[in-house]
């Protein structure tokens, strides 16, 4: 009996069947890997979106009323920024496959700039609601304030105003007899009830302040969904910046990695894809 390579208990690499070519499929293993990862990412996002669907269907009017508070302009700009970055990363992949190093570096650089632009706009949106870490702004709040016998519910942006008082810029209405729920009342509702056309500014004594609530995830189900979805998406944007920066540095050092650029590009398109759905779901409907 003749000796075969199997008698040695191992298969030397050059004789091992190629797992990819062997099946007649020329797709690179790396590409299969990144698509499998994206498949799991789809399931990850549909999980949170499923929560959003359930909660929205339970209170569609409340969701629609609160969506008015979010800035359509900022989100629209961010949509264009992400679509633009999708274009530049597609051009980067194209250039990398053609072996054009300068163009790859330029396009990767532009994509990273767009990614940071997206995060800056996101920070502006978040700090508008939550306030900034330095305490110059206390964010967007709903608060009850009593002065003498009059009680008002205010909704607007709050800034500190010297010792023991705050400045509220927004809308107000008298507290109704049956009381109010700070979680469900929206700026839109107060505006409609009071008939106030423009934002006004009031300086309020902190002593008269009753309960107050920031437009954070604690505000209500809509904002919990908003922060969960945009927050997780924002983390994905940061997760895209890191490999793109590494690839940019490698490209600038003279090492062009076309496959890596392609896989990172696929991930980045996915981040854009998620935002394409989040934008209308959270801001527009």
């Amino acid at each position: 009996m003749s000796e075969t390579i199997l008698d040695h208990g191992y298969v030397p690499e050059e004789h091992a069947p190629d797992p990819v070519i062997g099946h007649g499929d020329p797709t690179q293993p790396g590409k299969i890997g990144i698509w499998l990862f994206l498949a799991s990412e789809i399931m990850f996002f549909i999980g949170i979106l499923g929560t959003y669907i359930i909660l929205r269907s339970g209170a569609p009017d409340m969701f629609a009323a609160h969506a008015h508070v979010l800035s359509k302009t900022a989100a629209g700009i961010n949509t264009l920024v992400l679509i633009g970055s999708s274009l530049t990363v597609a051009l980067a992949v194209d250039a990398a496959q053609k072996g054009n190093r300068t163009r790859t570096a330029t396009m990767l650089g532009l994509t990273i700039v767009c990614a940071f632009g997206f995060l800056v706009v996101k920070y502006i949106e978040y700090s508008d609601k939550l306030g900034d870490p330095w305490g110059h702004s206390l964010g967007h709040q709903t608060l009850v304030h009593t002065q003498g016998k009059e009680s008002f519910v205010y909704d607007g942006h709050v800034h500190p105003h010297g010792e023991g008082s705050i400045e509220v810029k927004g809308y107000r209405m008298p507290v109704p007899e049956q009381g109010i729920n700070l979680h469900t009342i929206s700026e839109h509702q107060i505006k409609e009830t009071s008939g106030q056309k423009e934002e006004e500014t009031w300086t309020l004594d902190l002593k008269g302040r009753g309960s107050y609530l920031r437009y954070g995830p604690q505000k209500n189900m809509f904002f919990a969904c908003y922060y969960a979805l945009t927050g997780v998406h924002g983390v994905h944007v940061i997760g895209g910046i890191i490999p793109m920066t590494i690839l940019l540095i490698q490209t600038l050092r003279g090492k062009l990695l076309p496959f890596h650029v392609e896989y990172t590009g696929l991930y980045w398109h996915f981040v854009d894809l998620v935002w394409i759905f989040l934008f209308p779901l959270l801001y527009l409907i």
Partner: protein, 128 residues
């Protein structure tokens, strides 16, 4: 610029997803055209939001339809899905079917009908 990889693409004009063993295939995709389409569709989505549509379902379906067209454009052309073989489609179809399954499984919770929610709410309970 194109000498190394362009050599084995002489007489191209049709892409064969399965046949070629070329290391780095690159496809002629009209990237700027797709980008233009995406920008136009974004403007359409925003414009639709400012229309006075009262039906919640119409609003949601319209927004999701436009978003799906945009997503398809990104996936097909930017992600080169149009040029991929069966394997990538196989990987992609599984989570998409599971997404549909998940949303279908949510229908009993979405529909506020007596068939699905037989319990009568207590008087005064808002349900929200």
């Amino acid at each position: 610029m194109d000498t190394t990889h362009g050599a084995n693409r002489i007489g191209d004009g049709h892409e064969e997803p399965h046949g070629h063993t070329e290391a780095m295939p690159h496809h002629r995709v009209p990237y700027f055209l797709i980008f233009g389409l995406l920008v136009v569709l974004t403007i359409v989505t925003v414009a639709v939001a400012f229309l006075d549509i009262h039906s919640e379902i119409v609003k949601v379906l319209l927004a999701l339809t436009i978003a799906s067209i945009k997503a398809s454009a990104v996936a097909l052309f930017f992600m080169h899905l149009k040029f991929e073989g069966k394997l990538i489609y196989l990987i992609l179809i599984v989570p998409l079917l599971l997404c549909i399954l998940l949303v279908c499984a949510l229908i009993p919770d979405i529909v506020h009908g007596t068939a699905f929610n037989p319990v009568t709410p207590l008087p005064g309970a808002s349900g929200h």
